[in-house]
Structures are given as C-alpha cells and as structure tokens.
Symmetry: C2
Subunit: 338 residues, 2 copies
Amino acid sequence: MPKNQQILLDNRPEGAASASNFKLVTSDTPDLQDDQVLVRHHFLSLDPYMRGRMNAAKGYADPQPLGQVMIGGTAGEVIESRSPKFPVGAKVVGMGGWQQYSVVEAGQTGALRKVDTTDVPLSHYLGAVGMPGVTAWYGLVKIIEPNVGQTVVVSAATGAVGSAFCALAKARGLSVVGIAGGPEKCKYAVDELGFDACIDYKEHSHPRSLTKAVKDACPKGVDGYFENVGGMVMDAVMANMNAFGRIAVCGMIAGYDGAPMPMSYPALILMNRMKVEGFIVSEHMEVWPEALKELGMLVASGKLKPRESIAQGLEAAPEAFLGLLKGKNFGKQLVKLV
Amino acid sequence: MPKNQQILLDNRPEGAASASNFKLVTSDTPDLQDDQVLVRHHFLSLDPYMRGRMNAAKGYADPQPLGQVMIGGTAGEVIESRSPKFPVGAKVVGMGGWQQYSVVEAGQTGALRKVDTTDVPLSHYLGAVGMPGVTAWYGLVKIIEPNVGQTVVVSAATGAVGSAFCALAKARGLSVVGIAGGPEKCKYAVDELGFDACIDYKEHSHPRSLTKAVKDACPKGVDGYFENVGGMVMDAVMANMNAFGRIAVCGMIAGYDGAPMPMSYPALILMNRMKVEGFIVSEHMEVWPEALKELGMLVASGKLKPRESIAQGLEAAPEAFLGLLKGKNFGKQLVKLV
C-alpha cells in the first residue's frame, strides 16, 4: 500500500488562522476490507467553511477534531477496489480530506459519487459542478426565488460560488451585480463571467461610499442578495434592498476570526419586509441532482467557465487556504495532488 | 353637523417624540355626499407603528403629513348615513384617525368594516380581534409556522399583539415565553394570559444576563420568536435559537428614535440556519378573515382576555401615546372618545 501524506489540525487558531495550526504527517494506508475502495486524490478542495470548523465552538457543524486529518472535498480515481460499485479507474468525488489517499466505505450513502469527465473536467466537480455550485443554486433558486428582470447581488463574486451564481442568474434573465476585491477580479467578473457590473469593495473604506456604489450599480434596487462575507458589504447591500428583498446567508467570512461583525440596521428587515435566511447546502441533498444537472450543462455548453487557482502538492494546502481566507485566490481554490 | 376635535401632527420629533409634536384643533364636519357616512368614534387605537410615521424618512409607509390628522384605527358608530351598506346605528371599525368624527367613503374597499358586538366588546376590534391580533396570527402562523411542542417567545408580551400571540400559541400546543418590563406585567402574563414563563428585561442590564434568563426560561431552546422591540432583547433571544429557528419581525420599537440598534451576531442566522422575516399585516389582507374568526372565537370563549389601558378624551391621546412608546401602558392602549 502507498505511503499517505496527510495534514492534521494540530491546534486551534486564536484570532486569525495560521500555518502553525496545521501539521504534515506521513502514514501507511491500511489494507482494504470488503466493500472498501482506495481513492487516490487528484484534487483537494479548499473552502471558507473549513475556517469555521477550526474553532472549538460548535457552529452549524461539530468542530474539526484536533490531531485528525482536516476535512475537505476531494476528486480522484479508484486505484484499488473491493466494491463492485466503484471499479478501479472510476473517477469519484468524496470527502477524503487533506491527504493523498483515502479508504472509503463504498456502501455508505453519499460517501463517494462517480462522475463523468467526458464534458466536465474532474476538478470542476469540486467547484461549479459540486458543492459550491449547488450552494449557489440553492440560494438563488430556493431562497432568493427571483423573477425575470430583477436584480441580484453576490459577494465574493469571482469565487466558485459567485461565478456559478452569475451563470445561474443570467440563465434566469436577471441583472447580476458582483462585489469583489480588486480591479483585476472586477474586470474578470464583467468580461469573462458575464456580470452586468462588479463593485471593488477595496475602493470603499467608508460604509456610505460602498452603499452609494451599490446604488449606482443597481439603479432599480436589489431584489436578492447572496451573502458570502458579512460586515460592511452586507450593510451596504441591505441599504439598497427593495421591498420584499431576500438575502440568502451562505457565509460570513468576515466574522470567522472572532471579530464582532454586527448587522448595523436590522430595522431594514422590517421596513422592507425582507427575508433573511441562512442555509447549509449539505442539509438539502434533495436538490443536488437537479442542481448538478443544470450546472453540468452550463459548464459543458461553455456558459459557465469557472476559473481555478491551483496550488501544487499537499504541503502547499495551508498557505493556499490562508490566502483564500484573505481573498488572495482567484476563482475556485484547489490543491493538485497528482 | 357636530364640531370635531382633531389632533394634527404639527412638527416632527428630533430624537424622542414629545407632546409638542401634536396640536389639538376643532373643525366643522362637512355635509355628507352620496355614499358617505359620518362615524362617531368611540375608541381610538394607539399603536407603536405611529411613531415610525412621525419621521420624515420613508419607512415602509409614507410619513404622516404635517398639519393633518394623525393616522389611527378607530371603532365607533354610524350616526349619519347616505350609504345603504352602513345604516345609522351600525358599529364599525376603520382608520378614522385621532379625531372624534370621520366622514368615510362607504364604497371604498376596506375603509369601514361592520362588526358584531354581541360576544365581543367594540373596543376589542381595535386589539385582539383587530389589527394587533391579526399581526400576532400572521407572525405565528405564516412566518414562525410552529410544530406542536416547540417553544416560542414574544417581546412586549402583555401588549395587544403579545397577549393574542400567547392565546394563539397555546391553542397550538406550544410553550410560550414572554418578555416584558416590570414584575407586575410579568406576573400578569403568567397568571392571566397563560404564558409558561415571563422574563422581566428590566432586571437585566447586561446582555449576558438577559441571554441566560432566556436560556433558563426556554430549556429546550427557542424555535420561534416574535420580535416587537429589537436591540438587546433580540440579541438575547437569537443567542438561544435552535437550528431552523424563525423570527417574525413585526416591530423594532427600540430603534424608532433614531438611536443605532444593531443586531450583534448576524452570523447566528447562518450557524443556526435561521429565517428572519419582516412583515406588515396590512399587506396580507387575504389572511384577515381566517385570523379574525379564530381571534373572535378565542375572545368569545374567554381563552383570550385582552387587557386594555384606556385614556379618557382625545386631548389625552398624545400623553397616552408617549407612554406607550416607553412601555407605560398595560395591555392594549386605547383612547375613549365618548
């Protein structure tokens, strides 16, 4: 059996996360039992939710245990199999974690998903045609529930979720405005992803200035907002919401390090009869088939061209992850392991 | 035609509202035209939403115009009629405003509603079997959507909305916890209104202490919250919400005077996958018949015994209203005009 490089959570962050929270180790992969398969990971997905799991406090999920392999989505290939469902050579997506190989109980529902790489590259099953894509789909379709011609806004616009959100929104005849950090990302959002406009939040140090920028970009007001960041960006979009506006709360990356991040004007929820709803896509498995089908077609037809930031080698994962939390990535952040 | 005492909004508050914002005048009531009726008001309803209308900024409704009769719900009797729909002697509820008489276009949809005072006293049509009661009904039934055995919380518990909320919640097999100001109100909430527990927020100057009080009163956590006040009370309840908790946002009285009133931990919306939804009951006229029917039966059967604070005479309205904003009323605040 091959040697397996793994990254463990060694200790919990106090304030911002750092590379010293992680530890790289090498272990043996165990022999397979009946119904198990050995997957060689080609790609590891890095996602903001992992930061929440690093804290000791229970968030919406249990904390990542110390001394164990960091949780994470993986795409790879079955290289040994004692399960007829997943023969050697099958391309699969699962939650293998921050390591090169994983042994998976093939019979466990949802543990592994076989994917077809004819029209969709394997890595995209961790992004546009995977959890981030379905996240965008759920927030847009099930919470924002937009009508043709309405205006929707998404923060972290060029990320995996944001870019999928844009393609899904354009397919529904919506105006889509992004919020991202830096001129390069904003240009990319408009030129490549198809956003109608993109606001560079880094140009606005004062809430009033950012609020005006949202207003200028959304002359008819905002009907739906997909929240990835929280804080000042959330306040600025809320100030521009139309009556009966909907906010899908998917992430509040601005608050992960424990800094207080209030919502400045909750009275707007009443004044504009808004709905603000938090969700976790893994609790809505019933929508995945429909969402993945649409996302797969958008990618195969070229209407969704997801960008990827690819770090090389497992040992690069911690720095890539810390960069993601600071918005240094550009598109879906992956680690290539093969 | 009788002389008509009226109270106008004379100028807008800067900060807290005061008696000097209002002006008492006397005018003639005009002769009736075809299809008009003259209503003598027996009761004027005083409600927190009026404070929002006194501000110049557009909230969810247009501001109350200066120099005009203050908006307000009224219950009274038709004393002259040129409409076959509303004969002299009919008991009616409408939006007559802060005055003794009003001339109403009887044909205008929703302008007047005939009520039956056999089993329900006229004044209750401004409270438990009127707008406040339907407000409680909508928030509980349409937004909180509780399941039997769940725990719901309401702030301003002994007010017109809170007491109706309690009766509606008990009828659905829920645990109901109130939040009110002062030991007298809390005792009344438990002894007379049927709350399972009531928290005196005035005993808690620190958010942590109030949060613990909510926790102690709701050992199984909070599944639904009916928000009437905002501020620290909202934060304390949010900190105790269960996964998939719902908050119906009906009022944020704590913020009407322009003081900033942030929501301290909006990240809880994500962590607990909460839904926070604002509403105005006048935008949901389709539910009124069903809601009024249930509320009327609860009052007629004695299961909902609404308490009233009754000020005497129109000139007492401003002080009674200012008292309401400070929580000095006890139960539904009315002004008796006859």
